[in-house]
Symmetry: C2
Subunit: 273 residues, 2 copies
């Protein structure tokens, strides 16, 4: 029987426990799964930005989506923190837990091409403004050949959320949506997005409104009540399911055995049927 292929996104938010996640990924790869890891790095990018005197700024779109304002200096900081530090750290952790791993970003071999957002609408203190010097983008194409080669060699690909634009510029891309696009392109069996909450809430942070299961056709509605960065996770779930991935989890990456717990129901599972 072919091994199942999972794409697992490790959030870069405060609270997500990389050690527990890497330990379980290593166990699963040894036993029964092929896994591709995608990670964020927002916390580390913020820390480095503070240290070098160029603190992070965030943009809120008129639709309520939040993203990092990435001028060229921020792009360098982002690349140093996310590719240089976080990616290397995940790769060495997996290796210490006994599986081989390989770090790459979408710039490497141009394997993820994104379209740069040349004019971004931002809402600041109720006023709209247009930002034109932003180096962020939206993934348009994933070339799977390097990922297939690594998986065939029993090496876990660890993907940092950077891509290359059609004009050859390095871009910051949203890691949740990278994970969704990679899961689609690789025809993955499942996509799991680990973050520092238990999943989706109808009315965050009211514990009683936590949602264990959601159908694909409920996602447009969920996009309305999801708050902050959770909106992008819902969008990513939509993109993955629309592209043939059968199930998506938004799960808690803070504790021990996060993957087993998610499979045991401690996550918001979103599926086709």
């Amino acid at each position: 029987m072919a091994k199942e292929l999972l794409v697992i996104k490790i959030g870069g938010t405060e609270g997500v426990n990389f050690d527990f996640l890497c330990l379980e990924i290593a166990e699963m790869v040894t036993q029964r799964s092929k896994i591709i890891v995608v990670h964020g790095g927002s916390k580390e990018a913020n820390v480095l930005g503070e240290k070098v005197g160029h603190p992070a700024k965030f943009i809120t779109s008129p639709e309520g989506f939040t993203s990092r304002y990435t001028d060229s200096e921020t792009m360098e900081i982002f690349s140093m923190a996310v590719k240089g530090k976080v990616n290397t750290s995940i790769v060495t952790k997996l290796q210490k837990f006994g599986v081989n791993a390989f770090g790459l970003s979408g710039i490497d071999g141009q394997f993820m091409i994104a379209v740069r957002k040349k004019a971004i609408q931002s809402v600041e203190n109720g006023k709209r403004k247009i930002i034109r010097d932003d180096f962020s983008g939206k993934i348009e194409n994933v070339n799977v050949s390097i990922l297939n080669w690594l998986l065939e060699m029993n090496i876990v690909p660890v993907i940092a959320p950077l891509a290359v634009s059609t004009e050859g510029e390095g871009l910051n891309v949203d890691a949740d949506r990278v994970a969704a696009m990679v899961a689609r392109a690789m025809h993955a069996d499942g996509l799991m997005l680990f973050t520092a909450v238990k999943g989706l809430y109808r009315d965050f942070p009211n514990e009683k409104t936590w949602i264990p299961k959601l159908k694909q056709n409920e996602l447009p509605n969920a996009l309305q009540y999801a708050q902050g960065r959770m909106k992008k996770k819902i969008l990513s779930a939509q993109e993955a399911l629309a592209g043939g991935v059968r199930r998506v989890a938004i799960a808690d990456g803070r504790g021990d055995r996060p993957i087993a717990n998610a499979f045991a129901g401690q996550a918001t599972w979103i599926g086709v049927e």
Copy 2:
């Protein structure tokens, strides 16, 4: 006819012009050569160290070799600057000049294994001391499969000087010696080390003592009069030639058309015969 394979090391020293080197590498790859790039990043690591309040320190061995003192915080800074920034910058430059390129370090896929220097002798103000918390090492093994795959796909591998220890730790390794070990392992036709001087001098910086040609058996003697970081380049040339690489250049990476100029004789060429 098989294309010649060159390993080209781009020094990370002040003065080396990455644009000119990348432009010429892209032209050569389009025309007649397979090229593997290895780079340093000392200047950028120093700049980042200053910015984050952990400035670089250097160790001088009793034999006169200089190396970066790499405690665990320096290792993180080194990885951010060298892998996150310099490597990404070279990869995108090559892509802008029309060839595909892929950034990796020896940690990725564990393709370069190094032995950690667990106790380093250092001479400070005439006194010897032993340093035990240093994360640097010496390459022992290069697994060429990823490099071969990339070259077959017409992608230029761009290697950052990090390796993984036999205990799974990330290590800072000397980029000149990485270039030599990669050239050996890949049976390269030539190795070119670009830096911010014209080559080797009998009595640096006296222009009249510049050496255009050197035989392999003259290297032990050159190791005596070479100064500072030039010693490691001589050692790298020795390692490459001993491993079957036919010729090594120590060349000037500061000006226009650095590779053509080196082939035209503006470099110290070291050969077997």
